[in-house]
Amino acid sequence: MKSNTIKLITVLFAMMFLAVGCVGSKDPKPAKAEWMYDELVDVAFVKQHVTVPMEENVMIIDSRPYKAKYVKGHIPGAVSIPWTKFDEKKDLLPKNKDALLIFYCGGVECKLSHKSAKKAKSMGYTNVKVLPTGFPSWKKQKGEYPSVSAEYVAKVVADNTGMIVDSRPLETKYNKGHIPSAISIPFSKFETLKGKLPRDPATPVIFYCGGLHCRLSHKSARESIKMGYTNVKVFSEGYPAWKKLYGASAQAMAVKAGEVEGSIDLARFNEIMSKNPSSIMLVDVRDADEFAKAAITGSVNIPVDKLEAKAKELPKDKPIVFICPTGARSGEAFYMLQDVMPSLKDVFYVEAEVTFNKDGSYKLKKTE
C-alpha cells in the first residue's frame, strides 16, 4: 500500500514537471519536417541580433511577399528578399559569405524561409539559419514591436487610421521636413511631451526618425509600450525613405539637411556652390593662417575661437553654412550658435572631409 502511494506521488510529480515545462516554454521548437532547413534558431536568438543599426555581418531576411506581408509588418532591420524574387534580389545579400543570415517567413507551416536558406547555403554562405516560428513568434514577444514600410505609413496617413510620430529633434529636423500629419515628439523630450500621444492606448502609433541608423524612434516605441500602448510600430527606414518615395513635405527648405544633426546635405551643398553660392553665407572656421593658404571662393573666415564674439554680426536673411577640413570645428560652430544664438534657424555645417584648393575650389569626401 505504502509502495503504491509512493509510486502514485512520483507519477504525479513527473506529470507536474512535464506540464510546467510545456507552459514555461515560450518558443517551443516545432517538430522538424523533412522539407525544413537543418539549422534552426528560436526567436531569442534572433532578438539578440536585432540592433540599430544592424551589425555589419548580420542580415535578417524576410522571405514573405513584399507588398502583401513585409510592408505591413516585419522584424526591425529585416531586409525583404521574397522567395519568389530570390534570384532577382540575391545581390542584396552581404558580400561576406561568412556573415550570419537568418531567414524567416510566416510561421511553422511556411516553407519560404527554408527554401531561401537552402539556396543561400548553395551559394556558399556558411552561417545560415532559419527562424521556423517566423514573424508570428516575433510579434508575440513581450515589449517588441514590428517595423513597417513607407507604403504602409502612406496608407495610414491617407486613411487617418493612426498617429504618426516624428522622434527627431524639432528645430533641426522636423521643422525642415516631415511626414504629412506627423506630430513632433523628439525622444529627448519624450517625458514632457508624451501627453501628446492618443488617449486610447489601442490607437495605432507609428514612430519614425532619420533612417536605419537612427535609434530615436525605437527608444520612443519602447517607452510607449511601457506606457501601455498596444499597437506600436516603427517605420525604421524613416524620413530618408519617405522622401525618396514621396518627396519632401512643404516645409522642406532650399538648403536641405543632411543625415547628421545640423549638417547640410552634401549633394545640395555642391549644387548651391555651383549654381548660386551667394544664396548662403559660407563661413570657414579654420584659423587665419590656414585660410590664407587656400580657401573656397566667396567664403569668409571666422575662426571658431572668435565666432562667439562675432555671432551677432552674422546675417539673418540667408542660411549660414560652417566649413572646416573634417567637420569637427564646423560642428562645434554649429552647436555654439545653437547655444548662444538660438534665434538663428538656418544654420548648418559641412559634415565631410574637405580639401581646400589654392584656386578657390574644393573637394568633399563623405565622412566614413
Binding site: E261, R329, E332, M336, D339
Partner: protein, 119 residues
C-alpha cells in the same frame, strides 16, 4: 552561506547591468554620443571655469590625443574627472553632456583614426 552568496551575486549583477547601461556602446563600439556637440560642451566647461578664475585660460589643457581610446573609456566609465580640473563645471554637466564629451575624446583618442584633428 547560500543566502549571502545569492545576495552577493545579485549585487554584482546589478552593478554590471548599471555600468553597461550608463555608457551603452553604439554599434561601432564607441560610446554613441554626439562628438561634435561634445567638443563644444567640453570647451564651454573651460570657458565657465576660466570665468570664475579657477584656470587662467579658457582653452582646455587636456586634449583627446593625450590618451588612447581605452584609457578614455576607463576614465569616463569611472567618472573620475580630476585630471581635467574644473570639477565644479563637470559636476553641473548632465549625463548626456558627459556622454557627448566622452564620445569626442574616444573618437579622437591617440589611437583613433582621427586623433585630435581639427582642434
Amino acid at each position: 552561506m547560500f543566502r549571502k552568496t545569492l545576495i552577493g551575486l545579485t549585487a554584482l549583477l546589478f552593478v554590471m547591468v548599471s555600468v553597461s547601461f550608463s555608457f551603452a556602446a553604439d554599434a561601432s563600439g564607441g560610446p554613441g554620443g554626439n562628438d561634435r556637440k561634445g567638443k563644444y560642451t567640453y570647451r564651454k566647461v573651460y570657458k565657465a571655469c576660466a570665468g570664475r578664475g579657477e584656470v587662467s585660460s579658457p582653452k582646455p589643457v587636456v586634449s583627446p590625443a593625450d590618451k588612447t581610446m581605452a584609457e578614455w573609456k576607463t576614465i569616463f566609465e569611472s567618472r573620475n574627472f580630476e585630471a581635467f580640473g574644473c570639477l565644479e563645471e563637470w559636476g553641473n554637466l548632465s549625463d548626456k553632456d558627459i556622454l557627448d564629451i566622452y564620445t569626442y575624446f574616444y573618437n579622437h583618442g591617440s589611437d583613433s583614426p582621427s586623433p585630435a584633428q581639427c582642434q
